[in-house]
Amino acid sequence: MEYLQCLYAFASCVGFCILLHIRGSSIFWMSLGGAIGWFFYLLCAPAQNDIFQYFIGTLALAVYAEVMARVRRAPATGYLHVALLPMVPGGGIYYTMEYGIAGNADLFLETGMHTLSIAGSLALGILVVSSVARLAALMGEERRARRGCRGE
């Protein structure tokens, strides 16, 4: 059962939340982001292109993070930070290193480039959603045209 991975992602995010000193019900909501990201990653498996899968997964979790930030009136940073951790290509870094040690230059470069592309697609996903969210926030602020302290 492939989708069991979402559960694993959720559970490990709970661990991360504690390591990052998060308290209260935020732990549940932030970890849920990790599971959602991976769910969309698996959902796009028919595309047969894991860079694209990572991109969609990141888009999904970033949208979730921005929505939750508005709903729970907290910075989106936390939601993004935790939810993105299962997407970080830990495996890629490890195998790159292992090929490096083994002196297998071809595989080393290939895996290294692949890992970098994954990191790039994560960054791009966050970039797209955060930019749109910021634009929307600025437009909303403009509309309210209220000076002083503005919530984000």
Binding site: Y8, S12, G15, P75, T77, H81, I93, Y95, G100, I101
Partner: protein, 254 residues
């Protein structure tokens, strides 16, 4: 609140945010908002992950500057959240200097998880990430074991203020050594899955999220700093594991 006090409140608030791992634009914007709430329009703030420079003018027009060096950064998302709330509250209620400082102090005094909680959390991370990457149940138990050992070592190293590069290097090495020991002891295990699972404990040091958000908000310098930090962390982890995998091969020929 006079200008000197305002400068201090804003700097403290900004420092608190930055120290807890907030993005640069959040730090700068929060400080600007505090200035604006108290009617100061000529505030200038420049922040990078390791320093905040802030200048406002006194009523007489003489510039007041404060430079705040940030040496000890530790991601604490709870504090980012609370400090953000406090900044908004300061803007909304415009409290006196003492009240504002007390508010900021209350954020600083919020409890953090101690070592026992972290020793429970890190095997959780290791165990489930090992499963996540396709390891068996036995692998995951070993990954959890590595995580605990790694956390203990990191806590000990942090007590002596050892630099982050060396911490990550040792963290990687420990998980590698324990895994190799498991292989030598004859437990049939997937080395790669165990090590990857355990290593995920160190991954929060790789702050892809924050540096992308910094870059995108236009703080390219700050983004580059965090990017280099992430690269250093990743290199340190890889080197640590690399060494720990090489040595047993050298000695025992496994």
């Amino acid at each position: 609140m006079n200008r000197e006090e305002l400068l201090n409140v804003a700097a403290e608030a900004g420092g608190l945010l930055l120290r807890s791992g907030a993005e640069i634009y959040r730090v700068e914007e929060s400080m600007h908002r505090i200035f604006e709430a108290y009617g100061v329009r000529d505030g200038n703030v420049f922040a990078i992950p390791s320093c905040i420079n802030v200048t406002i003018n006194t009523d007489g027009g003489a510039p007041l500057t404060r430079v705040m060096r940030i040496l000890d950064r530790q991601t604490n998302l709870d504090r980012v959240d609370r400090a953000n709330d406090v900044c908004r509250r300061i803007c909304r209620e415009k409290p006196s200097y003492e009240e504002a400082m007390a508010l900021l102090d209350s954020v600083r005094r919020r409890p953090v998880y101690g070592l026992p909680a972290q020793l429970l959390a890190s095997p959780l991370v290791g165990f489930f990430f090992c499963l996540f990457f396709g390891g068996s149940l036995l692998d995951s138990v070993w990954a959890a074991l590595c995580s605990v050992a790694m956390r203990l070592l990191l806590a000990w190293l942090e007590r002596w203020h050892v630099n982050a590069f060396f911490c990550n290097l040792m963290g990687g090495a420990v998980s590698g050594f324990i895994t190799m020991a498991a292989v030598l002891l004859g437990f049939a295990v997937n080395t790669d899955k165990i090590i990857i699972g355990a290593l995920m404990n160190l991954v929060p040091g790789i702050v892809i999220t924050t540096f992308m958000r910094d870059m995108m908000a236009g703080d390219v310098v700050a983004g580059l700093i965090r990017f280099s930090e992430s690269l250093l962390v990743a290199t340190a982890i890889a080197l640590g594991v690399g060494v720990s995998l090489m040595l047993p091969r050298l000695i025992f020929g496994v």
